[in-house]
Chain length 340, copies 2
Amino acid sequence: MAKTPITVAFGDGIGPEIMTATLRILEAAGAELDIETVEIGEKVYKRGIDNGMDPKAWDSVRRTHVLLKAPITTPQGGGYKSLNVTLRKALNLYANVRPTVAYSPFVETTHPKMDLIIIRENEEDLYAGIEHRQTQQVYQCLKLITQPGSERVIRYAFDYARANGRKKVTCFVKDNIMKFTDGLFHKEFERIAAEYPDLEHETMIVDIGAARLANTPERFDVVVMPNLYGDILSDVTAELSGSVGLAPSANIGDGFAMFEAIHGSAPDIAGQNIANPSGLLLAAVMMLIHIGQPAVAERVHLAWLRTIEDGIHTRDIYREGSSKKLVGTDAFADAVIERL
Amino acid sequence: MAKTPITVAFGDGIGPEIMTATLRILEAAGAELDIETVEIGEKVYKRGIDNGMDPKAWDSVRRTHVLLKAPITTPQGGGYKSLNVTLRKALNLYANVRPTVAYSPFVETTHPKMDLIIIRENEEDLYAGIEHRQTQQVYQCLKLITQPGSERVIRYAFDYARANGRKKVTCFVKDNIMKFTDGLFHKEFERIAAEYPDLEHETMIVDIGAARLANTPERFDVVVMPNLYGDILSDVTAELSGSVGLAPSANIGDGFAMFEAIHGSAPDIAGQNIANPSGLLLAAVMMLIHIGQPAVAERVHLAWLRTIEDGIHTRDIYREGSSKKLVGTDAFADAVIERL
Ligand SMILES: CC(C)[C@H](C(=O)O)[C@@H](O)C(=O)O
Ligand SMILES: CC(C)[C@H](C(=O)O)[C@@H](O)C(=O)O
């Protein structure tokens, strides 16, 4: 099999540790990858590049069209742009796909049956980055919702549901207040839902929707929503499933794709070999499917599942009783490799 | 004792039932109230008043300065302004105080130790209502954060914490993305926190903050945040405590105050005498404290608690095993009155 070129960024904080673990597993599993490593994040910001990504990194991603990215740290203070948001916008990655699954009884969770996917719009909303200071005392940020932006992520959600044997797509909006912006998203949702009569659909106001999601996540299947609600609620569902450390995400566009864990760079535990590489590893599994190596994806996923089921757990999911062995990042990767 | 004049609105859907139940309890408890009833909501909207509140209702509230309000229904379709938002802005009700407490083991909850108060800013943010259609395909909504608006709700939160023997105030913002608007809220929080050295304070990014709130609400005490985050997360915590039907709220300004349940008018169960009046009743308890009748407030609160502890439960919180008797709205009110 020809090797698929991908761009890899090791990131900051716990990034290098979890990326090293992930790449070791991919290699052992026989993934056919031609890896270009690029530098992004803190060091690049500090070299004066305000979006944390230098021209060489851009060149690589433009060539490979696929980025596997560890979390990065944005330096404190003004003047720095979010690299995540810059990448999502520059590469037109309009759909952010965030599955959360409970691995009960192996990982402790209050919701053993949860198995849902949040698909968040990934470029618009308050993330458009249009903010200004009107006076010393009055600040504004523009929330942007467009018809094409809403249509493509909603269509993606329905197509995803159909392709993955899902039954229902739920939409969260706050259009009792934002009648134009969230109203547009809602209207597009109803319009597109009519084209998928084989799938159920429903819409909830985001406040009560969030309450239901936090209380009965098992009743949800695919949930599509504007950017900011998705940011907040995907952290909620990931944590409810057992740990934010378990949750992967795929940022998908028509030309490019970026895969990453949903958690941050956790500088407080960096360099200690205790971080859970699962979020990034499962993102790599999504990447393998995306680049047409589903058999390797399956191998990695099953070996990872067996590791979790054997109770070999990193600190974040380790619980006396349900877990068997407390391991660090490297030993966790070794355990996955043994089970390939 | 002189009677305190208050304005009462029976609202729509389940509103009239739960308000009748609430007022019966207040009267039996000896609350000294001079009640002016006003009409607001659906019928008023349909008379062509676009904010759902007619001039007589405004006159009454301007006179009494206190509104006890049942949920209302806003008719579908464009042209109607949210009455809730109109009232909050017109009366300058800048702080929305939302306590959520678990009543374990009497009411089933996954978080028996939770006892927190969300204080949401109540006039600004995306609720400022500045929305427009730029083209057929591009819609915008303005998020507004001001220094005075942030200062007064944050100060309210710290004063509230101090007055109520609370230890910690947590702030939720998304200032890694919204550096100006949420950045201003965060900056004000730090500035004001320094004036309250007797209280702990901490700030979290709202995504991971929400995840922690949903997973370990018992670690939070007072939590202050901009309007929309507070809207979403107060529904989440209320539902986690057992039911959105239990949660009251106080909308507080310097000149006026409005008290209401956090749930909606639930037209699907209206007129069936099954709704839980607890959210509105506990809001009335907050009102009694506000208007200087703390002894009556205490009586009502204790009788309500005893009813809940005796397992006399409405449908939303009734569970085989922990509950003893399934009651409707009226019978629940009778049970509270018996225990006064
Ligand atoms: C780091 C941050 C900009 C990002 C976001 O807000 O989208 C993160 O929280 C995420 O969810 O991927
Ligand atoms: C009815 C609606 C406008 C209101 C809000 O969004 O604030 C409600 O959800 C609430 O939380 O009081």
